[in-house]
Amino acid sequence: MAQPLRIVVAKPGLDGHDRGAKVVARTLRDAGHEVIYTGLRRTAQQIVETVRDEDARFLGLSSLSGAHSHLFPKVCELLKQEGLEDVIVFGGGIIPHEDRADLFAAGIKAIFGPGTPTAEILDFIQHANAMDDAGVGQENDWHWESKA
């Protein structure tokens, strides 16, 4: 790999469980990336400012509290407002399949549920990174179809 990718892994909202986020962070680290972990209970604004100041290429959001339909699109909206259209956003946690279409429409490029093999997340990262228009505010409406 030429340069490691910088990836922010964040927990928006009032959700105290971060085992999943830590597993993803560790997976990305072990694949040679630089992972900035925000810790628990971040607001959308805080997450977006972290992505901006850390110059992250990817943002991973984790939610197990059921508030994803509110919080994830809000983060996407703020990213676009801050001029961070080219950041690639993915999500994970307890996200029912019927909620996913709206999240993809908001600009999220992949949703990974429980039981996703970590290798699939790395495949997604590699695939999305090779595209130049997979950012949250860019035209391409492609998204990764996850099996889990």
Partner: protein, 300 residues
């Protein structure tokens, strides 16, 4: 990139983050930047301060408390927080930000900038490219830059190569009086903070350090008790550190670190560096051959 550099110089944080990445990735060099004059017009005691010490002594929490206080007094403070890269995979988990409340405080967040940095291929607790990143921050009006090093041991002195001031953070119960007598990092300290002052052993450790410094020939650096978590001694520490003078004890040692650091950087940046490593691994050349190749003339 030129457009981004000028937007960064005008205070745009997104552009600043981008340019810092470019410096870190060596796709742009600080020398090529037009109009980036790092000399500050403001008369200040120091512009780059390294905060170093063993893992877990509380550097991040302490740095956050200091940044919060300075920002509330109206100063602008940038932090370059360094964590280790895996020697195996090259990846890194950069976790210093978890402890940073100042960047989330709406009253002061515009006056603080925090950037996490992985050591990548650097040896020691601070990658030398941090010097250039700090220099660009200075050009962008971030006159005070803190560098939080990787948790480091007794003989990790490389931060002396990139910072004007070195603050060593110690914790309570860090060994007996003999530990304070040992040579190493403490000899380069411009100030020592004994953190976790609320815990047993902190006062004793602070007085052992003071006694040890008093035995030396030169002026002793200030030793203060602090607790980043409980807020003990933070105001005094902030005041003392802001006007901290360079200790005269270690000028030669500092210059040695700077010289060695520059030399290492010259080797690592040599166009044949990776080729030499490869050939060393294959056994087709030996260390002496590699050195004579890498010490040849080249444009950095």
């Amino acid at each position: 990139m030129n457009d981004e550099i000028s937007r960064a110089l005008n205070g745009e944080r997104r552009a600043l983050a981008r340019v810092l990445s470019a410096i870190e990735n060596r796709t742009v060099s600080i020398e090529e930047m037009s109009g980036s004059d790092s000399s500050s017009t403001e008369d200040i005691m120091w512009s780059t301060m390294a905060i170093t010490g063993a893992p877990g002594v509380g550097k991040s929490v302490l740095v956050d408390a200091l940044m919060t206080l300075w920002a509330k007094q109206g100063h602008r403070i940038a932090l370059l927080a360094v964590d280790p890269s895996s020697p195996r995979t090259g990846g890194a988990l950069l976790g210093d930000r978890v402890r940073m409340t100042s960047v989330d405080n709406p009253a002061i967040k515009d006056q603080v900038y925090v950037r996490s940095i992985a050591t990548r291929t650097a040896s020691g607790s601070v990658p030398l490219i941090v010097e250039d990143m700090a220099s660009f921050l200075h050009s962008c009006g971030w006159n005070r830059v803190l560098i939080e090093t990787v948790g480091s041991g007794q003989s990790e002195l490389r931060c002396a190569a990139v910072a004007d001031r070195i603050v060593v953070v110690e914790g309570p119960a860090r060994g007996d009086g003999i530990q304070a007598e040992k040579a190493g990092l403490l000899e380069l300290a411009d100030a020592v903070l004994v953190n976790k002052a609320d815990l047993d052993g902190a006062k004793k450790h602070a007085s052992e350090l003071q006694e040890s410094f008093a035995l030396g020939q030169n002026e002793a650096p200030p030793v203060l008790l602090t607790s980043g978590l409980q807020g003990i001694g933070i105001e005094q520490a902030a005041e003392m550190l802001f006007e901290l003078k360079a200790s005269d004890r270690a000028t030669k040692a500092r210059m040695r670190e700077r010289l060695l650091a520059r030399h290492e950087r010259r080797l690592v940046n040599h166009p044949s560096y990776n080729e030499c490593l490869k050939r060393l691994t294959e056994g087709t050349i030996d260390i002496e051959n590699a050195l004579s190749i890498l010490q040849g003339e080249h444009d950095e």
